[in-house]
């Protein structure tokens, strides 16, 4: 059964408060060269294969897995 890897990220225009705090923490650890940190979600699903698999994944992302008002998604199907 294919493994579907999905990454959900905040839209670039949205302030990522968590990412900013993590960036500050990295700087305090001495990694001055870190310019931006944005934190998202990563999911793995096992989805039954078929000709509809891509449209199903997009549906799942658009309806539930991501909030299209604030998030973007990308996915990869690993067979």
């Amino acid at each position: 059964m294919p493994l579907v890897k999905i990454a959900i990220t905040l839209k670039p225009t949205l302030l990522d408060a968590q990412g900013r705090v993590v960036q500050n923490a990295l700087h305090s650890l001495g990694y001055a060269g870190v310019e931006q940190v944005r934190i998202g979600k990563y999911m793995e699903l096992n989805v039954a294969d078929g000709p509809e698999i891509d449209s199903q994944i997009r549906d799942m992302c658009e309806k539930l897995l991501a909030n299209p008002v604030i998030e973007e998604y990308r996915y990869e199907v690993v067979r």
Partner: protein
Amino acid sequence: MAARFGVVRFPGSNCDQDAYYAIKDVLGKPVEYLWHEECDLKGSDIIVIPGGFSYGDYLRCGAIARFSPVMRAVQDFAANGGLVLGICNGFQVLCEAHLLPGALVRNEGLRFVCKHVPLRVENNRTKLTSLCTEGQTLCIPVAHGEGRYVCDKGTLAELHDRGQILFRYESDQANPNGSIDNIAGIANDAFNVFGMMPHPERACDLSLGSADGLILFQSLVQSVN
């Protein structure tokens, strides 16, 4: 004619009892709980979606609750002009269900904020705010970690132009979460669905510090009668 309230309960809702108490014991109106698996709104005139952590806030706040069977009934009810008030997690559920525009995200300061805040009534020509005066300050408690309201520029302009912004935190300093334009509560474009992050049901009894929230429930009752 008495206005009847229905208070929705999801697994993880925890402000349902406060809403029930405010409506039944303070306001003195009939109220019933609506379990999330039931599609029957029991003849309610006004639906309240209370605060809490429905489904543990898993995935995103309100993301899973919006697909509960009761929400199908609430969507139909709202489409037919029924009155719906979402408080805190309830506001999040309504945004996820696209009954209200925009979204609620993590507080800018990353802390859970729990305190009374001053709200300014921006529009008193709605069924939720009709008994308020425009510009009136209401002292209402907030208790949330993900209450920052966000929306794109086009949506913000529409909300502004149509008067859909019902409450703002009184100042930048009073804004507990970084909400765009200090927005604390909004209505949909048909003005029958309302969402607010502060908890008016926790401001109906002076022994809890403020009774400023009662006027909102009274406005809803008056609009039904």
